[in-house]
């Protein structure tokens, strides 16, 4: 969507224009649903949470001041609702936490000759491997990875969305990618990419 068109759409959404808000939903529903689904690891739950995200957005659009981008604002709502839902269900943190297999100062070695990232092609099996790797991560790593690598948010935008320092965003992103890298590497070395 062009910047001018989006600005006009946002102005109409601020005035609770249902038709304009429908277009806004069209533009963001897949991305928000994808983010929420990966955060909660359950399609039905993700559908409920995503609806709630858009309802909250509709209710509070009049208060959207435009200091951040509408995308940052929307994903902040989504992120907060995912965290709320997780707290309500009393979920325990997933196996891959902030302190991952890679200790401070330890150099990661990806010099294995079978590890050829440029040759990686997403087939159905690899998609499943990557999705599983993401599902294993703690929420904190997952949300940074998804917002940066999937939604292409800048470090600063993510820092603002999650209210954490930029340095923390980078270190979490590094740990998340490193975890995925090890998952993909294991899959490749165990013969998944014959």
């Amino acid at each position: 969507m062009e910047a001018g068109a989006e600005e006009a759409l946002i102005d109409r959404c601020r005035k609770q224009d249902v038709e304009a808000f429908g277009k806004f939903v069209d533009a963001y529903q897949a991305r928000v649903f994808g983010f929420v689904k990966r955060m909660v690891n359950n399609a039905d739950e993700a559908a409920d949470v995503t609806q709630e995200v858009f309802i909250r957005a509709y209710q509070s659009f009049a208060r959207f001041d435009g200091r951040s981008s509408v995308r940052t604002w929307l994903f902040r709502i989504a992120n907060n609702l995912c965290i709320d839902r997780s707290r309500q269900l009393g979920r325990t943190p997933n196996s891959v936490g902030l302190v991952s297999d890679f200790e401070d100062g330890e150099e990661m070695d990806f010099s294995d000759s079978r590890w050829q990232p440029e040759a990686l092609m997403l087939d159905a099996e690899l998609i499943q491997v990557v999705e599983s790797g993401i599902a294993e991560m703690s929420e904190k790593l997952k949300m940074v990875l998804l917002l940066h690598d999937r939604e292409e948010m800048s470090y600063e935008e993510i820092a603002e969305t999650l209210s954490i320092p930029v340095g923390t965003v980078k270190s979490r992103l590094f740990l998340a990618r490193a975890h995925l890298q090890s998952v993909v590497k294991r899959y490749m070395t165990e013969g998944g990419n014959d």
Partner: protein, 136 residues
């Protein structure tokens, strides 16, 4: 700062970029039409004006305040006079008599109370010897 620069370098490495690309290229899933129609219904329900509710709120706010103030006034300012006229002590009898007098006064007006009233229609003989003039 040095650590952050090192982190930037690592994040910019080819292997890390390839992982980022894998994440970026993951397929997108669009929610179902049923999901969308449910959402539309909810948005339309949100969009409906609610004037009655607003009016009720507007009316209820001062009413609630006044009600609360009245309840507090009754509780702390307008205390009923505590009287225990049911016992048989002197104090209780005095209070009971006083209350009776007040009640009579409110009915009959100022003057004698019922307990003070006597029938003077027929003269009675004077029994006081000091007032017996025949003695002198």
């Amino acid at each position: 700062m040095k650590n952050e620069n090192q982190l930037d370098e690592k994040l910019a490495s080819d292997s890390m970029k390839s992982i980022a690309k894998l994440v970026k290229d993951l397929p997108e899933e669009i929610p179902s039409m049923n999901w969308r129609s449910q959402l539309n219904e909810r948005i339309l329900a949100e969009a409906k004006p609610k004037p009655k509710l607003e009016l009720q709120r507007w009316l209820l706010r001062p009413a609630l305040g006044l009600g609360l103030a009245a309840a507090l006034a009754v509780a702390f300012v307008i205390r009923p006079v505590a009287s225990d006229a049911t016992g048989s002590s002197v104090e209780s009898l005095m209070i009971a008599t006083h209350q009776d007098d007040v009640n009579y006064a409110s009915v009959t007006g100022a003057g004698l109370s019922v307990s003070e009233m006597k029938d003077y229609s027929s003269p009675t003989p004077v029994s006081d010897p000091l007032l017996d003039l025949d003695v002198f």
